[in-house]
């Protein structure tokens, strides 16, 4: 089976749900090592994205992701706005015009999206950012043999990457201002990225 417009919409709708449900959790994580707005930012942005998706016909997965990207860029702000905006923008561009998306195409799109995040944020693996969840998850997808197992492997990898941020000392983003004091806290952006893969897997599962 493959990813089409409806599964993509389902994915985004689920992700928006997660951001609403876990808003306070993300705020708490960001309060500890940042400025406490990540949950509010992501929730505001994904609500905006749902609005925009309703307001215009979405021909294919690429169009959906491009719409989400523009909504995030113009409503989130902070670090997460450009980062998630770029992620979805690059993925959308990679999938432009395809009605059905198979595993290789999907993995390639994630790779492009991740490269966008990296060139936008200049973060390296180990800097304690969303990349810690994004990179292993994308690699898991690339190594998978089918979409279903690939996505569940990606979720596991994202979750491990998220947990692995806790001991790290942040070198990028607001948390880096704390220096050593940033260690011992889970990174909020890596956490929202975990939910992004989780909702993708769930959307495809049923």
């Amino acid at each position: 089976m493959a990813i089409n417009r409806d599964t993509t919409l389902d994915w985004i709708t689920r992700f928006a749900g997660e951001m609403g449900e876990h808003r306070q959790e993300l705020v708490r994580l960001d309060t500890a090592i940042g400025d406490g707005d990540h949950g509010t930012n992501m929730n505001r942005g994904m609500q905006k994205a749902l609005e925009k998706l309703q307001s215009a016909e979405q021909p294919d997965p690429g169009a959906v992701l491009k719409t989400v990207a523009m909504a995030l860029v113009s409503s989130v702000g902070g670090a997460a706005g450009p980062l998630y905006g770029t992620l979805f923008l690059q993925m959308g561009a990679a999938l432009a015009g395809q009605a059905e998306v198979d595993l290789p195409a999907f993995a390639a799109a994630w790779r492009k999206g991740m490269e966008g995040v990296q060139s936008r944020g200049k973060a390296q693996p180990g800097d304690k950012t969303m990349l810690e969840a994004l990179l292993p998850a994308v690699e898991a997808l690339e190594q998978a043999s089918d979409l279903d197992s690939g996505l569940s492997a990606a979720v596991t990898a994202a979750e491990q990457g998220m947990n692995a941020t806790t001991p790290l000392v942040a070198r990028k983003g607001r948390a880096s201002y704390l220096g050593e004091r940033s260690a011992g806290h889970q990174d909020p952006g890596a956490t929202s990225t975990f939910y992004l893969f989780k909702s993708a897997a769930e959307a495809l599962a049923d």
């Binding site: 708490r28 930012n41 980062l83």
Partner: protein, 333 residues
């Protein structure tokens, strides 16, 4: 959380309504996207100056819009940098044909959003230069990190660049001057209490009744360390020493001393701190040529202060003294 607000997610819009009602004669306020623009913008032939950042730092930046300072400000949500479309709109609104300067505080979010705005604006052939402020010595400087935060010096860059732009200096000259002010400026802040963002409703950190947090930023981030509170003289010394160790200066230099309140500290206390700063400066042979004391770059209702020192040259003094006419900073007009 006790605040004079209507609803947590209405804070920015409601405050902008107040700005519009109070200063509608001098600024144009837009709500989609959020902007505060000089009523007479664009000023033909003048370099346009815009800045932006999260809300919660008032009067920065909206209170600094007017002749002699900013042409426009882009307020984001509380403690959240604004979005590229705001900056793009503002850039167009203030372009008088001489190019536009983006004054950006060095935070990952602010930097990336202004970057995207610049990329998106490539088409409209408006010449844009960016002046990045990163004066907070509480943050270790390093190539591998996000680098130092932009704090107090931002206010001074906005004023001095505003004076130069009014004086007809060109895009490159004004930008270079702004970069020089930033390069010659250092700041450090401390908090007696945390702040509470309307959205989270929780204190940004916990402090004991006798503790202060040293090296805080302006977003309720925890600082570099905490200690038992001492007299104002000790607080001033804690903040000024790292500045002076980092700022290349020699006895006899002229400086601008800026004692800034974080929003919840009374002016009475800021003047007590200033007295200590003046003492320390003279002990180091520094002459305070100009000073600024008050709440200018704040962190909601946080109690505390920050100190900024800028090594002055004649050009900076000239444009600092130049007339400015904004809601929050005004002289000579």
């Amino acid at each position: 959380m006790k605040k004079l607000i209507n609803a947590p997610d209405a804070v920015v819009a409601d405050a902008l309504r107040g700005v519009q009602a109070a200063h509608g004669d001098r600024v144009r306020v837009t709500f989609d996207p959020y902007m505060v623009v000089r009523a007479d913008a664009p000023v033909q032939g003048k370099v346009g100056l815009i800045s932006g950042g999260g809300s919660g730092h008032e009067p920065m930046h909206g209170g600094f819009v007017g002749p002699g300072m900013l042409d426009a400000a882009c307020p984001g949500e509380v403690f959240t940098s604004p979005t590229p479309d705001q900056m793009l709109e503002a850039t167009k609104a203030v372009n008088g044909g001489a190019g536009v300067i983006h004054i950006v505080k060095n935070y990952t979010g602010d930097v990336m959003n202004f970057e995207m705005a610049a990329e998106m604006g490539k088409g409209d052939d408006i010449e844009v230069e960016t002046v990045l402020t990163n004066d907070d010595v509480a943050v270790e400087d390093s190539l591998y990190t996000a680098g130092r935060r932009g704090v107090g010096v931002t206010v001074l860059v906005e004023k001095i660049c505003g004076g130069a732009a009014d004086d007809g200096r060109n895009l490159h000259e004004v930008a270079e001057l702004g970069r020089r002010v930033n390069a010659q400026g250092r700041s450090m802040g401390m908090a007696l209490t945390p702040c509470i963002t309307p959205a989270s409703g929780e204190p940004s950190f916990e402090l004991a009744e006798d503790e202060v947090e040293i090296g805080i930023g302006i977003h309720g981030e925890p600082g570099r360390f905490r200690e038992k509170i001492g007299p104002a003289s000790q607080v001033a010394e804690r903040l000024t020493t790292p500045i002076l160790e980092d700022l290349p200066f020699s006895s006899g230099d002229k400086v601008l001393a800026f004692v800034n309140g974080m929003g919840g500290t009374p002016l009475l206390e800021l003047y007590i701190v200033y007295a200590e700063v003046a003492k320390i400066a003279s002990e180091h042979g520094l002459t305070i040529e100009r000073n600024l004391i008050g709440n200018y770059i704040t962190s909601l209702e946080m109690q505390g202060c920050s100190i900024t020192l800028v090594k002055l040259d004649d050009e900076m003094v000239r444009y600092w003294d130049a007339p400015v006419n904004t809601p929050a900073l005004r002289w000579g007009a």
